[in-house]
Symmetry: C2
Subunit: 161 residues, 2 copies
DNA sequence: ATTGCTGCAAAGTGTTTGCAATCTG
DNA sequence: CAGATTGCAAACACTTTGCAGCAAT
């Protein structure tokens, strides 16, 4: 198990620091330059546990701080998504909604109250469904799964009114 | 089992005619009027098996035929989505991507070659995952699952070059 | 006849791009 | 110093809305 991970029964939680360190590493490995505006985006996403839209990021970094401009934010998001460091999730928003993740095959487990996102590894979905589907001659190649619910902290702590 | 359905081991396939008939029924039951522009949208979606964006619909109905205008198309899509007759699916498109479906809890099984969409009923996902998740104190309330693969016809028939 | 629906035109958002100035390695 | 990157401004794309006329019940 790598640094920064907390493991429980196939479930993997990537901490803010861990995600940040790995993403920066990947950025440099890809030959990208180490600039302040990009770091601002990575810092912000690392510390964000809830799903977010590009505009939320723009509001936080461009307007409030002048840390990064809209085009840079969109370009950085595009890179992160292409490389698997963030993923789009289903949402009723009119804009694309992202969550941070790690590259590879995982599933998101999202708390609908605090928005905390867990990463689920060791997926057995296909094992469970492939038999039923192959009986109708369908060959499964991949899937998207997002789970929604309430995490322990949100059930314990009184939600703010 | 209702008309127009083909059933195989928890899998449910809604035919174009079946979907169309049910959606129109629901539209009237909701007190909506029976207008030609709306019918054009329903007809088009019924006969469409692959995922589509609003703009594809606009291109087909507004520009080519003058059957329905952009605002009407968007308004009809919004109604259908709110009522569960179409669903947004994950996609790399920049616009929302829809597939037709039936109201209720189902999963989409989408062929990546021909785009045919099957509806999967009798979902056991949560039964399989809830134990693992509750061990970390996470209470699952719902989920989104989309399966991608290749259907029988596409493996049998030589795909067009 | 009433009331909802349509389509036009226009406005709102979300997202991308051309390009000169700037910064990194 | 060369080349990637930034940020501005503007363009572009997607989606929604106000409103006058039309159409379904």
């Amino acid at each position: 198990m790598k640094r920064g991970e907390a493991r429980t029964d196939g479930l993997l939680l990537s901490t803010a620091d861990d995600w940040h360190a790995r993403a920066v590493e990947a950025l440099l490995a890809a030959g990208c330059r180490n600039t302040a505006p990009r770091h601002a985006v990575l810092d912000w996403i690392a510390s964000r546990c809830t799903p977010f839209t590009a505009e939320i990021l723009v509001a936080a970094l461009e307007r409030q701080q002048g840390l990064s401009s809209r085009p840079t934010i969109y370009r950085t998001l595009e890179w992160l998504r292409a490389e698997g460091w963030i993923a789009r999730v289903q949402s009723d928003e009119n804009a694309h909604t992202y969550v941070r993740r790690l590259p590879g095959h995982y599933h998101q487990v999202i708390c609908t109250q605090c928005g905390h996102t867990l990463i689920m590894r060791g997926c057995t979905i296909e094992h469970a469904l492939v038999p039923a589907l192959s009986s109708i001659d369908f060959e499964v190649h991949g899937h998207v799964l997002e789970l929604y619910g309430v995490c322990g902290s949100c059930r314990v702590e009184q939600p703010a009114p």
